[in-house]
Amino acid sequence: MGRIITITSGKGGVGKTTATANIGAGLALMGKSVVLIDADIGLRNLDVVLGLENRIVFDIVDCVEGNCKLRSALIRDKRYEGLFLLPAAQTREKDAVTPEQMIQICTELKESFDYVLIDCPAGIEQGFKNALAGADAVLIVTTPEVSAVRDADRVIGLVESRGIEDVGLIINRVRPELIEQGDMLSVEDVCDILAIKLVGVIPNDDYIVISTNRGEPVVSIKESIAGQALGNITKRILGEEIPFLNLKVKPKGFFASLRELFSGK
């Protein structure tokens, strides 16, 4: 029996889709069978992040309307053994799928896959309710910004009020150098405020932009620190105890600091 994990945030643009794609790819690399569901009907993007946009034939709305079998809407990612995508419809609205239909899809997928990851749309309306309907666990993605943390707090309240107890936190786009100079909320600050279990800390990393441009998950890029962080999240989901990456800024040395002082930075 598989496990259904919904990735949500409240605020848009904090990295839900990227996290979903990479955790999915990471789980597949660890030998698990995984389906990623794009619940963002009307604004689908998970297909693009995964580089599968040209292979969509059927989508989730086709499944619920009986135009195709659930199996035939799944797109197999040829690069990752065991990874599948159930794309969202692009020309429909959120209410084209009901929470009951979502539960039905989840129940069916749960029988043949180890993990079902649902990429939730931004907001707390119909799409959010659909994405949460069948969830066993929830991952909240946030960034160390006032607006994102505020929305995360609201979403945590909504998730907990549904009786979902397994709620984890991913803090994305962390910039250690800004934290050190006192200009960014630290990981501890965000954890204190939101008071849920921390599952991952992802540093800001240019490789994310590059890998999204290419449509290739960043977990496969060994040099990428964000890729490593996402790989660690995957392992924590699988129950391994993995220490968090050391994000301390390396001391710059005397001359570099002196130069900075004189250049007025």
Binding site: E145, V146, V149, R150, D153, R154, I156, G157, E160, S161, I179, Q181, G182, D183, M184, L185, S186, D189, I193, A195, P251, K252, S257, L258, E260, L261
Partner: protein, 86 residues
């Protein structure tokens, strides 16, 4: 670095401001109270404690916690010193 330390006063950073703003926002979000009411609550607590305690300049902090459906309000009152009994 030491040089950075020299350049900046410890309180002069935007993350402290962000944290303070966030905790204020969350009090009103979670309790669904307006900032004015939150201020009133703080003032009332201040008034009633003031006769026993000298309260520090940092001011009273309100914080809401929501653990397994039970919302609790915790207040942090900085104490300068106790006032001598009359």
């Amino acid at each position: 670095m030491i040089l950075n330390f020299l350049k900046r006063k410890p309180k002069d950073n935007s993350s402290n401001l962000a944290k303070a703003r966030l905790s204020n926002i969350l009090v009103s979000d979670r309790l669904k109270v307006t900032p004015e009411i939150a201020e009133q609550i703080k003032r009332k607590i201040h008034e009633s404690l003031n006769q026993y305690i000298e309260i520090g300049e940092e001011g009273i902090k309100l914080e809401l916690n929501n653990k397994s459906g039970i919302v609790t309000l915790s207040t942090t009152v900085p104490v300068k010193k106790l006032r001598k009994g009359k």
